[in-house]
Each structure stands twice: as C-alpha cells, then as structure tokens.
C-alpha cells in the first residue's frame, strides 16, 4: 500500500510541471550588436510592448535573448526580426526551444 502511494506521489510530482507549463513556449533570439546592459533595455522595451510575452531573459555575453510566451501565444521569426530591428539591432538567429514542460522531461 505504502509502495503504491509513494509511486503515485512520485508520478504526480513528475507530471506537475507538464501540467503547469504545457502551453508555454520559449524562443532563443541570437542578436548582433548587443554590446552593453544599457543598450539591451531597448530590446526589453520593444518585447514588453508585444502581446503574449510572459518572460524575457537577456544574456549579453552570449548575445542571446530568451523569450517565453504565455499560454497559447506564439512568436514568428518575422515578428522577432521586426522587434529586434526597432530596438536598433540585427536578428542573426531564431530558434524555437522545447516548451518548458517538455524540457522538464529530458
């Protein structure tokens, strides 16, 4: 009985993140021209004006911007290109990363 309960609890815990984040998607934007923390705010500003963005993470040394969308929202490469251009930079790469729930299974 105890073994069954323990197994059920482990299974529930393992599935929990999938339930919570199943619909969130992350995108990695490789941005050229990103030289300083001060400059990077232009990108954050343009992204926060865009509907469907849940979180933004900027790694200046890698020149990478990770964007997490809210449930049901998506981002296209054309959208990302325009956002980065309006911020004064150049989009070099656009990659859809596995949804956060899927990455939790890896």
């Amino acid at each position: 009985m105890i073994r069954i309960i323990r197994t059920a609890v482990f299974a529930l815990v393992a599935l929990l993140p999938v339930t919570v984040f199943a619909a969130q998607t992350q995108y990695r934007l490789q941005v050229d021209g990103l030289a300083c923390p001060f400059c990077a705010y232009g990108i954050e500003k343009e992204l926060t004006r865009t509907d469907g963005i849940a979180a933004i993470d900027i790694d200046i040394n890698a020149g990478a911007v990770t964007v997490t969308t809210i449930e049901g929202a998506t981002m296209t490469e054309a959208q990302a290109d325009q956002i980065v251009k309006d911020a004064g930079f150049t989009l070099r790469g656009f990659e859809k990363i596995k949804a956060r729930a899927e990455s939790g299974k890896d």
């Binding site: 050229d32 021209g33 990103l34 030289a35 300083c36 923390p37 001060f38 400059c39 990077a40 705010y41 232009g42 954050e44 500003k45 343009e46 004006r49 900027i58 790694d59 200046i60 040394n61 020149g63 251009k85 309006d86 911020a87 004064g88 930079f89 150049t90 070099r92």
Partner: protein
C-alpha cells in the same frame, strides 16, 4: 531658477517612477552616432559650467538644462533642449532662459556584429534666439544658428571609439554682431574595465580630444579684433549606468590653443547629466 529646477526634477522623478527602460553610450562633449530605439524617449537633466579668464576679465557660466529626445524610428530621432543660463562677468551677473535648441539625428549606416556595433549618423541642430540678448552679460546670442555634422563610432563589450566633424553657422544677432562660424573635430576612445551582466551597474571610461576653430566675429560687416582662433581640449569622461538610468559627465581641459590677439580663454568646462530612457 528654483522653479525651473523644481519642475525639471519633478518631471524626471515622475518618469523614473514609471520604471521603464533605455539605451546606448556615446561621447559626452561631442556628437555621437547613437539613436534611441523606435518609440523610445530619452530625458536628460544636465548641468554645464565654464570658467574663463584673461585680459582683466573673469567669466563664469552655469547652465542647467532639460533635454528630451524621441525615436521616430530606430534610425531617426528628434529632440529639444531647454537651457537656463546663469552668467557672471567680473562684477555683473544675469540669469534667465537661454537659447532653446531643436535637434534631429539620422543614423544612415549600421553594421551589427556579435557583441559589437559600427554606426554612423548625420545630425542637425537649430539654436533659437530665445535667450535675453539685452542683458549684461548676454544670455542668448540673439541669432538663429545652425550646427550640423556627421559622427561615426564603434561600440563593443570592451572597447569604444567615436569620431565626428561638425560645422556651426552663426547668423547676425543682437546689435548687428555676427559671431564667427565654428568648426569641430573630435576623436574619442573608451573602455569598459569590468564586463557586467544585464541589469548590473556598468561603468565605461572615455577620453575625448576636442578641437574647435572659430572664425572672426563681424560687426556690421567688419572683422573684430581679439576674436577667432583654435583650441584643443583633453576631456576625460565617464558613464555609469544601472538598469534604466545613466549618470555621465566629464571635464574639458584646454591643452593647446592659437587665438587671435588677446582673448579670455576657457580654464575648464564641465558637464554632468542624469539620463533616462523609456
């Protein structure tokens, strides 16, 4: 004076309280090629001061100013600068609104690389005769003057350089006086001593060399003595940024000059600015 400071401080504080973002380093005493992102606004609350001595005169000028710039596109910005001038010449003083400046800048070339950016821009400024030109000393030129030129530069995680050339066309002002046109050449080098991450305090140090040459002033078509010549300034400057806010400033020190006849010459110029983008 107090009302101006109060209004400027309240305006800036209200903007800062809104907690929105900003961008881009550039020279402090010379034009740079950076522009604001599309739809972005930059507010600057600054303070300029200058001291000059010579030919029995001592002159001091203190000029707080408020500047607002707006990014029409990522490449094109427009702005306005409203100065308040406080001048002392030996035993006379005057203070009041200075000459308001309207400006625009267009970044006509940019090349982005991983962690670095080359760029070049053309700029145009119009200085309006809004300062009192009847006061002693004069707070405004009494003329509508044009300042234009180009600037280029390189910005990377570690290193910076900028170069610019500009020309100032002075038109006939109060009492028929036409100040000599001026030419400017500037070179700037900079370094970020510590590479910081996003949302960490960040410091950049720069050295500017600013060369200025002025033509002779004219009064009713005749050249005036004791005017014109060139000067070279050595200018250490700094940028300190933290998230949406920047503090930048520096001092201009004259290191070489060739001025016509006998003139009062600047001992120093200094600038301190609080900048905010949103």
């Amino acid at each position: 004076m107090r009302k101006f400071f109060l209004s400027a401080a309240i305006g800036l504080a209200a903007t800062v309280a809104a907690n929105k973002p900003l961008q881009a380093h550039g020279p402090v005493f010379s034009p740079g090629p950076e522009t604001i992102f599309k739809g972005g606004t930059q507010l600057t609350l600054g303070f300029d001061t200058e001291g000059a001595t010579g030919v029995g005169e001592v002159a001091r000028e203190y000029k707080p100013f408020l500047e607002a710039e707006y990014g029409v596109t990522a490449d094109w910005q427009v702005g306005i600068k409203i100065p308040y001038a406080w001048k002392e010449e030996t035993d006379r003083t005057a203070n009041g609104l200075g000459d308001i400046v309207l400006d625009t800048k267009y970044q006509f070339w940019k090349r982005d690389l991983p962690g670095a950016q080359y760029k070049a821009a053309a700029f145009l400024q119009l200085e309006l005769p809004t300062g009192d030109d009847d006061s002693t000393p004069r707070l405004g030129s009494g003329s509508t003057d044009v300042f234009t030129g180009i600037a280029t530069g390189y910005e990377s995680r570690r290193w910076y350089w900028f170069a610019s050339g500009a020309y100032r066309v002075n038109t006939k002002g109060a009492g028929g006086l036409e100040k000599g046109d001026k030419q400017f050449l500037n070179v700037v080098g900079g370094v970020r001593p510590i590479l910081t991450e996003y949302k960490e305090p960040d410091t950049v140090l720069m050295l500017e060399l600013n060369w200025e040459r002025a033509g002779r002033d004219e009064l009713n078509g005749s050249d005036l003595a004791n005017t014109g010549g060139w000067q070279l300034f050595f200018s250490p400057v700094f940028w300190w940024t933290y998230q949406q806010t920047a503090v930048r400033g520096g001092v201009q020190i004259p290191i070489a000059e060739s001025l016509n006849e006998r003139q009062a010459t600047p001992d120093y110029r200094a600038r301190l600015e609080l900048v905010y983008h949103f």
